[in-house]
């Protein structure tokens, strides 16, 4: 039968963490017969361009980056206060002593203290109100939280992808004892109660790493990157290994081997190009998972340390206002939902674009 009559509905299926692993033995992203240099990418782009939903996801992600890394500082300048500035005396309702609600104007002296005569006093605007009794700007914290979430999610994804691709490629390419060792290692990691372990590690070993920031990241970002990355590599590793296993038997690899190409060269210039598709697709799906994971860990109080804003931190202080200001639960939850959704949609779209047959 011609391939075109295969039901295209199969596409877009199975993006879940475990589901992908289960089908990993098959040709996960379809064997791309030959990387027909430009034509292939053109086709991918052509197919991707038609997927309006995925494009939407992609645009949202670009916007998210802009908001997080450019919009947040701009908003900070415009509003005249920072995400960690506290207004413990002024951003609280004088009657109830609870944080002010959305679109609150109030006057405040330096340090967020009540105005006293003789000291300059400024008017402040809190667009989404205050986050807690500390009286921090929920809106700015939401924007800055995007920075943290993206840094953790992408950092952990890069680390786990790097480890996964490296180990998966080595295992798949060299086979034999090396493959057996790496595969067993993968199975051991998979048998761990991984989330329990991440929780335990983030809390015991984590605090020691919190001060390690490389000068550009917030405190605790790299801790989460390591803790998550070190446990999440097994998933790309299995996919890449399966890909390499099937590619290894292909004629062009045989041919390269026959003309005496070194292993490294074969991996780099013959195999890696075929892995670009799965790497890109799974990266975006894993980023989505990691956004959720960061929020979860910070919610449990073992993620990003104080006072840095992260969506999980915002979510974790919200239940204190369960009875009086339930909307505080909504903002960070929506932010997580939209970001994750965007990465998932992009990932699905890319998968479809790379692999129109959706063969699993």
């Amino acid at each position: 039968m011609p391939t075109s009559e295969r039901d295209r509905e199969v596409l877009g299926a199975q993006a879940g963490l475990a589901s992908a692993v289960a089908v990993e033995t098959g040709s996960e992203l379809g064997e791309i017969e030959q990387v027909r240099a430009r034509g292939y990418w053109e086709q991918v782009w052509r197919r991707f361009r038609r997927d309006k939903v995925a494009i939407g996801g992609g645009i949202f992600i670009v916007l998210l980056f802009l908001i997080a890394f450019a919009g947040a500082p701009l908003a900070k300048d415009w509003l005249g206060h920072g995400p960690n500035d506290v207004y413990p005396g002024t951003a609280l309702d004088p009657q109830t002593q609870l944080p002010v609600g959305p679109w609150a104007h109030f006057r405040s002296g330096p340090g967020g203290l009540p105005c006293v005569s003789g000291i300059p006093c400024k008017s402040q605007l809190f667009i989404l109100g205050a986050d807690s009794q500390l009286g921090r700007d929920e809106f700015l914290r939401l924007l800055y939280g995007a920075q943290t979430s993206l840094e953790v999610a992408i950092g952990a994804t890069v680390l786990s992808m790097f480890l996964g691709v490296l180990l998966g490629a080595i295992a798949g390419y060299f086979g034999g004892v090396i493959d057996a060792l790496i595969s067993r290692l993968t199975e051991i990691v998979m048998a761990f109660p991984i989330l329990l372990f991440i929780v335990a590690l983030a809390s015991t070993v984590g605090p020691r790493l919190n001060d390690f920031t490389l000068g550009i990241f917030g405190k605790g970002v790299l801790t989460l990157v390591f803790v998550i990355g070190l446990f999440a590599w097994y998933y790309p590793a299995r996919i890449i290994r399966a890909q390499i296993l099937s590619l290894r038997e292909k004629e062009f690899v045989e041919a390269a081997r026959m003309v005496g190409a070194s292993d490294w060269r074969i991996i780099r210039s013959h195999l890696l190009p075929h892995l670009v598709a799965p790497i890109i697709v799974y990266s975006s799906l894993i980023i989505a998972q990691n956004v959720l994971l960061e929020a979860g860990l910070s919610f449990l109080g073992i993620g990003i340390p104080l006072p840095t804003a992260s969506w999980g931190n915002l979510l974790s202080s919200a239940p204190d206002y369960y009875l009086t200001q339930p909307w505080l639960m909504l903002w960070p939850g929506f932010a997580v939902l939209l970001a994750t959704l965007a990465f998932n949609l992009l990932g699905d779209g890319l998968r479809d674009a790379f692999d129109p047959r959706g063969a699993h």
Partner: protein, 340 residues
């Protein structure tokens, strides 16, 4: 009235990229006890033709037209219920890949018995007995024991025998075999073909055998339909077509028959890939690959018309008779030389 009469059969698939005309106006008929071979490259529409006859194409996005009359009932326009009664009972089918055509989680015996139970009012036990008999008939050793086995415990050839048994268990009038030997090794191929020939004699069924291998056709078929890019390009009796093929594509198929002599110059080779069925070439669909291509071929699709010396032998080609004679002769000589 022929047992199965297919007239102007068309099957189109709607896809995201446009309409794929997988079968575009195919007509043929089969008589009782006769064997019809349908040959062509993969993607030429032979399998889809048969699936359309059986009503096995996915309902969604498929447009079929034309007629497929079985005992004067049109298979294409009958109720699903009636079609199910005919399927597996009057018309049975054997598929290309015996490895995947059996359900891996059910026992062989159950799968065979299912075929019986679907059409005959018998007990499970009786169905099993019938299944056993058929298994013996298709030459499966220790058949009693193997009823309880699962497909993965069978070799490819044995599975194809099971498939044949399953097809024949209800004594069908028409047996459609879709490349029954492609997935098998050469020795097994021969065994399966012999088995089918013998069974045909015993059961007196009509057989439609789909293959890309003219050798298989030569061994088994009475009539041949050659398909290219969803169309019939040549059809007629085996004798007639093998004696004097009228179409460069057929020559190509004949030319790619296995030969023992390697030093003989290959007269015809089919270069290139079959065309996309989304946008088939203008004119003769074979012209981009045809070594004898003429200007007219690019503009006009040649009609399928009887060749001069045999009215039952139809071909679609613009070439003049002399060229056809000359080239066909060379080819036949080569083939004969190879065979001798």
């Amino acid at each position: 009235m022929a047992l199965l009469d297919v007239k102007d059969l068309k099957t189109y698939f709607r896809t995201d990229d446009g309409i794929v005309k997988a079968v575009d106006g195919v007509s043929f008929s089969v008589e009782k006890g006769q064997t019809l071979g349908i040959v062509g490259e993969s993607g030429s529409g032979k399998s889809v033709t048969c699936l359309t006859i059986m009503g096995l194409n996915p309902k969604k996005n498929t447009i079929s037209s034309g007629e497929a009359r079985f005992k004067d009932e049109d298979l294409l326009h009958m109720s699903p219920r009636r079609l199910r009664q005919i399927r597996g009972n009057d018309i049975a089918m054997i598929f290309q890949d015996p490895m995947t055509s059996l359900n891996p989680v059910h026992k062989i015996g159950d799968q065979l018995a299912e075929a019986v139970l679907l059409h005959q009012d018998v007990t499970k036990k009786q169905a099993k007995t019938q299944a056993l008999e058929l298994l013996k008939a298709v030459g499966i050793p220790r058949a009693e024991r193997r009823l309880g086995d699962y497909p993965h415990q069978f070799s490819g050839g044995m599975r194809q025998r099971v498939m044949i048994a399953m097809a024949l268990v209800n004594d069908p009038d028409v047996l459609i075999a879709d490349e029954p030997t492609t997935a098998l090794d050469v020795t097994t191929q021969a065994q399966i073909l012999t088995l089918m020939n013998n069974l045909q004699k015993d059961f007196d069924s009509a057989i439609i055998i789909i293959t890309h291998d003219l050798g298989v056709v030569a061994e088994t078929a009475d009539d041949v339909v050659v398909m290219y890019a969803a169309e019939v390009v040549e059809q007629g009796s085996v004798d007639s077509i093998f004696r004097r093929p009228h179409m460069p594509y057929t020559w190509g198929l004949l030319g790619s028959l296995p030969r023992l002599d390697t030093d003989l110059e290959r007269l015809v080779q089919i270069k290139g890939q079959p065309p996309s069925l989304l946008n088939p070439p203008q004119g003769c669909r074979f012209h981009p690959r045809c070594p004898y291509v003429m200007d007219i071929c690019k503009k006009e699709d040649p009609p399928l018309k009887p060749v001069t010396d045999d009215p039952a032998h139809l071909a679609a080609c613009h070439l003049d008779e002399e060229t056809k004679d000359r080239e066909a002769q060379k080819l036949i000589e080569g083939t004969l030389a190879a065979a001798s």
